[in-house]
Amino acid sequence: MGVITRAVRNISRRKMRALLVIIALGFSLAIMISIPAGVIANQESALGLTENLGSTITETQATINQTLTQIDCTIGSSFEGFGFAAPDQSVPSGFDFTPPDGGDGSGFTPGQFGNGTGAPGQFGGGAFGGGGTTAMNETFYNDINSTLDGVAAVVPTLEVSEGTEEEMEMMGRTFTTLSVDYVIEGIPLTSEIVDNYPVLPTDIVDGRNLQAGDSGVVLLSENNTLFFNAEVGDTIEILDETFEVIGVYSSSGVESTTTLYMNLSDAQSLTNNTGYITTLTVFAESSDVVTDVATEINDLHPELTVTTGQERLEQLESLQSTYETALEEAEASLSQTQSTAFQEVVVAVAATSLIVLFVMLYTVRERTKEIGTLKAIGFSNWTVMSQFMLEGVMLSLIAGVVGIAIASLAAPTLSGLLLPTVSQQVSTFGGARMATTNPGATSTATTAISLTPELILIALGAAVLLGALGSLYPAWRASRTRPAEAMRYE
C-alpha cells in the first residue's frame, strides 16, 4: 500500500471529476503539442522552399555564366505559353508547328512570304513554331557568320512542340492552343558544335549524352521517360518514327522539363521541316563583344528578336529578386506564426498549470481532515506533500497521454485553427529559355504535421513538469496544515 496506489485510488475515487479534469488538461496539452508540430511543419516547408529556390538560382546562374557569350535569335514573340499568329492571315497558331510545305492552306511556303520589310524568300514558315517563335530558312542567315566580326559560331536549332490542339475563343476570334506533351529540340550534332558550345543538357542521370554524328537516337528528360514510359535502350515512337533512347538528363531548371534532344536533321525530317529552323544561337568570341555582336545582328536583320546572355542574366536577377521578396514574405509570415505559436503555447502552459493548481487546491481543502489524520498518525510533512504532488503529476500524466491521442488525431485541425497559415505558394523556375519563360509554374508545398517521438516525449515531460508545478503550492499547503486545526475541520 504505497503512495502511488493511494494516488491512483484517490484519482479514481471521483471518476467524473477526474474525467472532466483529464479532458480539459488533455485538450490544453494537445494544443501545446499541435502548435509546435504545426510550426515545425511550416518551418520545414519554408526551409524546403529556400533550399529549392537557392539551388535553382545557383544552377541557373552557373549555366548563364557559362553561356554569357550566347546570343539567341528568333523571329516572333518571346512569349512562351501562348503562341500568337495574326488572325487575319487565318493560319493555325499556337505551339503547333505546321509543316510549311504541308499544303494545308496555310499559305506559307518557303520563300513565299515576306513581312513587308524584306524581299520574298526572306522568310520561311510563317507565324508558327515552337514557343511562339517562327520557323526560318536554315541558310538565310548565313551572312551573320560570314559578314559579322566577333562571331565564333552559329548554331541553328529547331524546336517543335507536340501535344493536343485545343480551340479557344478570345475577343471574338478563334485561337488554337496546344497542351504540350513534349518538345522536340533538334541540335546539329557536329563535333565542332557539341564539343565546344553548351547546347546540350549537362546533367546526364542515365545512359550517355548525345555525341557528334548521332542519328536515330534521342536524349530524354526525366519527364519524357514518364510520358513515353521508356528507359535507356528502349525504342520509342515519335510521330510514327522509331528512335532509340540513348540517355536521360535531369532538368537543371534551365532546360524545359519536357524537352527531348535529337540530331537537327532527324528533327527536321521528322517534323517535315527540312531546311527550316526556329532559333539561331550565335556564340560571340568573348563576353566583351557580346553586346556589340547582338547590335550588329539586329542592324543586319531587324526582324530578329535578339537575346544575349547578359539580358538573360538581368532577367534572372529580376526573377531572383521577385523570389527573394516572396521568400521574405514567407519568412515574415513564419516569424509571425512563431510568435503567435509562442503566445498560444504560453497560454496553454498557464492553463494546464492553473487547472492542476485549482483542482489540487480544491482536493486539499476537501481532504483537510484526512491530512490532519495522516499527520496525527505520524506522516511527515514530506510524505504528505509528496502524496499530493504525486496525485497532481499522475493526473496530468494521464491527461498527457489523452492529449497525445487528441493531438495525433487532430493536430492539423488544431494548428490550422490556431496558427496563421504560411504562404506556401512560391513559384519555381521552369522552361529552357530564361528569355522566353514566364515564371508561371507554381508548386504547392504541403504541410505535413507529424508527431515525432521527440515531440511525444517532450509532451509527456511537459505534462509531468506542469503537473508538479501546478500541485506544488497545494501540496505545500497540505503539508503545512496544522494537525490540531485540521482535526477540527469538518
Binding site: M1, G2, R6, R9, N10, R13, K369, E370, G372, T373, L374, K375, A376, I377, G378, F379, S380, N381, T383, R482, P483, A484, M487
Partner: protein
C-alpha cells in the same frame, strides 16, 4: 514507583480569536504513569480536546513544559514532532477518521509505512491487530461497509500499529450506540490490562469514564477533581513471571526484578 511517562508542568494554552485571547488551559499540572488508564471529563469548552492535542503533540502549549518519556516535546521543532507521533502515540478519534478509499487492513498498515517495515511484515501485523480487535475476516472491507463499532475497532487497531507508548482517545464512544460503546470500552480496558498500554481517554460520558482507572475532571482549563474508577478493581497487578504484586507503571517486577 517508576518515573512518570507523561509530565505536564504549568501548561497553558491560549487561542487568539481575532484580537481576543481565549484561555483553553491555564497552568495545568499532570502526571501519567506507564500502564495507567486515564479518563478526562469536563463540560464543553473546558479544554479537554486542547489537552489531548497537547499530549498528542498535535499542538504546542503557549507556555509550560510537556515531558514525554523525559523528552521535552515543547522544545522540539515541528518537523521532528511527527517522529514522536509516529513512534510513541496512537490516536483514536470520535469520528474514526479512517481513509475511505483504503480497506480495513490498509488503514491499519498506514502508520507502519513511516517505519519502513517490510510490505509482508506490515500486512501480517495489520491482520494480527485486526484479529485482536475482533475483526478477523473483515480485512478487505472498506470503511463504508463496516458498522460504526467496527470502524472504531479498525481505528483502535491502527492506533496500536506502531506499538505506541500511549493511546490517546478523543471521545471514542461519542458516535456509538450503547452496545458498541460498551464493547469499545471493554476493548480498551482489555488492552490496558493485557498489553499494559497507557490510555488517556477524553469523554463526557460518566458511565464510560467510570470504567477507567483514574478519572480527571477538567474545568476552565484546570484539573479540578480526581477520582478512582472501577477499572482499578478489575486490574490485576500481578507479574507475569512470578505472579507477585506490581504497581502500574513499573518497568521491572519489584519481587523478581524481571522486565515487564
Amino acid at each position: 514507583m517508576s518515573k512518570p511517562l507523561l509530565t505536564l508542568e504549568k501548561v497553558s494554552k491560549t487561542y487568539m480569536l481575532g484580537k481576543r485571547e481565549v484561555p483553553a488551559l491555564s497552568n495545568l499540572d499532570l502526571q501519567v504513569n506507564k500502564g495507567e488508564f486515564v479518563s478526562i471529563m469536563g463540560p464543553s469548552g473546558s479544554g479537554k480536546t486542547t489537552l489531548l492535542n497537547m499530549l498528542g503533540c498535535l499542538d504546542k502549549p503557549t507556555s509550560g513544559t510537556l515531558l514525554l518519556s523525559d523528552v521535552d516535546v515543547t522544545k522540539m521543532p515541528e518537523k521532528d514532532l511527527y517522529k514522536i507521533r509516529l513512534n510513541k502515540i496512537g490516536f483514536v478519534f470520535q469520528t474514526f477518521n479512517l481513509l475511505p478509499y483504503l480497506n480495513a487492513r490498509e488503514n491499519v498498515e498506514l502508520p507502519m509505512e513511516g517505519k519502513f517495515t517490510s510490505k509482508t511484515g506490515r500486512k501480517q501485523r495489520a491482520s494480527e491487530l485486526l484479529g485482536m480487535v475482533g475483526l478477523s475476516g473483515r480485512e478487505r472491507h472498506r470503511p463504508q461497509r463496516l458498522s460504526a463499532g467496527e470502524q472504531q475497532r479498525v481505528s483502535i487497531a491502527r492506533a496500536l500499529a506502531n506499538d505506541p507508548a500511549i493511546i490517546l482517545a478523543d471521545e471514542p464512544t461519542g458516535n456509538l450506540d450503547s452496545k458498541n460503546k460498551y464493547e469499545i470500552v471493554k476493548l480498551l480496558a482489555n488492552l490496558n490490562i493485557n498489553q499494559g498500554t497507557t490510555i488517556i481517554m477524553v469523554t463526557h460520558d460518566g458511565q464510560v469514564a467510570a470504567q477507567t482507572e483514574r478519572m480527571l475532571f477538567l474545568s476552565d482549563g484546570k484539573i479540578t477533581r480526581e477520582k478512582q474508577g472501577r477499572h482499578v478493581a478489575k486490574k490485576k497487578y500481578t507479574c507475569p513471571h512470578c505472579e507477585g504484586k506490581i504497581a502500574p507503571g513499573d518497568e521491572r517486577c519489584p519481587s523478581c526484578k524481571k522486565k515487564l
